[in-house]
């Protein structure tokens, strides 16, 4: 059993302990310890029932902890009988844990950290490394988050949308590191989509799969950013694309559209084009219209303007961009791109340089600087 398969059992085992009467905070610690022991012991002989083994060991660790505490007598009376797990589907327990870790009372960063530990089963050190903070800081962030939700009743279902937002953050805003956060986010989204049968959960899973499929093509050998239009589509992962499209189609067929499904539909249309020129921009604009209708998001409007530029010509794109706040992220970059398409090379060169100065990440800045340099060289011609 590899590490990922082992970690998959984490939420179920925590849920079993909580059902037996353990508090979430102590149960979560106990399961982490059991996981560490499993990594140590299993190579010498894997148990026939890994889940049962983890439950037994985690329960023992939980008892050790509670025995050591001052209020042990009352607690022991309650738990020493080791009641069997209450009947009821394990799926519900696991899902409740997702809700708890994404509870609205938590800040996004706390919800992300707690989800990665209690649901994904990652160690504090792994999470700290993935987010480039000291282990002590991440340990505190997690334990504060646990305290914050300690009073939340475990038996009430939550809003799937909060869970999806947390998983989207894990997918989209992680740093590079030893842990593949994008792969973790996909694993968790797949589990949530299966458990909830929610259309937006499926939409998010599809969105992740379709973007993950392009990962190898997204950066050049030197680590530079390769824009969608210039990516080597032969390097896109067709297996992930096929799965993403299938998941998305099943969700769309149920006719309950949401923003993740709309975003996934846009990604699917890109995936469908064998070359950038074959992209069905008219349909993509229609999906952006849906996305704007669903979210009202200025970022969606900005991306729509770029799509309009591809569908109806750069002047139409510039007109669509005209009413938007210039302070939006990537606004200047979009303006530069559309001006270049329209043939205003000198204007575009100046705008690319300005966009580079306000870029919020290094890869985009370098890419925009390169665009400015390319156009300036052409102007010197």
């Amino acid at each position: 059993m590899d590490e990922v398969a082992l970690r998959t059992l984490t939420p179920t085992v925590i849920a079993v302990l909580v059902r037996r009467g353990a508090d979430f905070d102590t149960a979560e610690d106990a399961v982490q310890e059991a996981l560490i022991e499993a990594v140590r012991v299993w190579p010498r002989g894997r148990p026939r029932d890994p889940r049962g083994w983890l439950i037994t060991v985690a329960w023992r660790k939980f008892l050790d902890t509670t025995r050591a505490e001052a209020s042990r007598r009352q607690r022991e009376d309650a738990v020493l009988a080791e009641p069997p797990a209450l009947p009821g589907p394990a799926v519900d327990d696991t899902l409740r844990l997702y809700f708890l870790c994404a509870h609205p009372s938590l800040t996004p960063a706390s919800a992300v950290a707690l989800t990665l530990r209690a649901v994904a089963g990652l160690s504090t050190r792994q999470i700290a490394t993935a987010y480039l903070v000291p282990e002590a800081t991440m340990a505190q962030r997690i334990s504060r988050a646990k305290r914050m939700v300690s009073g939340v009743r475990f038996n009430r279902p939550g809003d799937v949308a909060t869970v999806l937002r947390v998983l989207y953050l894990v997918f989209n805003e992680g740093y590079s590191g030893a842990v593949d956060l994008a792969a973790e986010a996909i694993r968790l989204a797949r589990q949530v989509a299966v458990m909830t049968r929610d259309e937006e959960a499926a939409g998010l899973l599809a969105l992740m799969l379709l973007h993950h499929a392009r990962r190898a093509a997204r950066t050049g050998v030197d680590g530079s950013l390769v824009p969608l239009a210039e990516q080597d589509r032969g390097r896109w992962d067709t297996r992930l694309i096929a799965e993403g499209v299938e998941v998305l189609q099943a969700a769309l067929a149920r006719d309950r559209l949401g923003e993740f499904q709309a975003q996934a539909a846009i990604a699917a249309l890109h995936a469908d084009a064998r070359t950038a020129r074959e992209t069905d921009w008219v349909q993509i604009v229609e999906w952006y219209d849906e996305l704007v209708r669903l979210t009202g998001s200025p970022v969606a409007r900005l991306n729509r303007a770029v799509a309009v530029g591809a569908a109806d010509g750069p002047r139409a794109g510039l007109a669509a961009l005209a009413g938007l706040d210039p302070a939006l992220p990537r606004h200047t970059a979009a303006l530069a791109y559309l001006h270049e398409q329209a043939g205003d090379v000198a204007v575009a060169a100046r705008l690319y340089a300005r966009a580079a100065r306000v870029a919020s990440n290094l890869l985009e800045r370098d890419h925009l600087t390169r665009q400015a340099a390319r156009l300036n060289a052409r102007l010197r011609g």
Binding site: T107, L132, V133, A136, T137, I266
Partner: protein
């Protein structure tokens, strides 16, 4: 989450707002209180899950540049009268720019002469992020 650098300058910032008594003229107790405040501040940010790093720099600095292949690098300085001089920094990982401003304000209120907050200027600089996967 957003990562910010709180940059402390020896000089180069706006005109000081607080007391202008140099630290070597404070009482030893006032110096201790100041140092303790800084240390406690870092510990408190670890507790809130927001601390990343804190370092102080020596005032001496040397400019270095390449002088071409096969030649040792050229150095210049130190310059006694450089306009800007960085004393040290703290890196924080917070939920919002508002929170970063709040923390910078607190750090700037470290006690100085007479126990009064020094109210020194700190420069707040956002870090570049890691590029997102979903951009269209």
């Amino acid at each position: 989450m957003a990562r910010y650098l709180l940059l402390k300058h020896y000089r180069g910032g706006p005109a000081p707002a607080g007391g202008d008594v140099p630290i070597d003229q404070w009482t030893p107790e006032e110096v201790d209180a100041h140092v303790r405040y800084m240390r406690d501040f870092a510990a408190r940010l670890t507790d809130t899950g927001e601390f990343v790093d804190s370092q102080a720099l020596l005032p001496e600095g040397t400019f270095v540049r390449s002088d071409g292949p096969g030649r040792p690098p050229v150095t210049d300085g130190p310059f006694a009268e450089t306009k800007d001089l960085i004393a040290g920094w703290m890196v924080i990982d917070v939920d919002s720019r508002e929170r970063a401003l709040e923390l910078a304000g607190e750090l700037s209120a470290a006690p100085g002469a007479g126990g009064e907050p020094v109210r020194e200027w700190l420069e707040l600089r956002p870090f570049m992020a890691y590029p997102p996967a979903v951009t269209e």
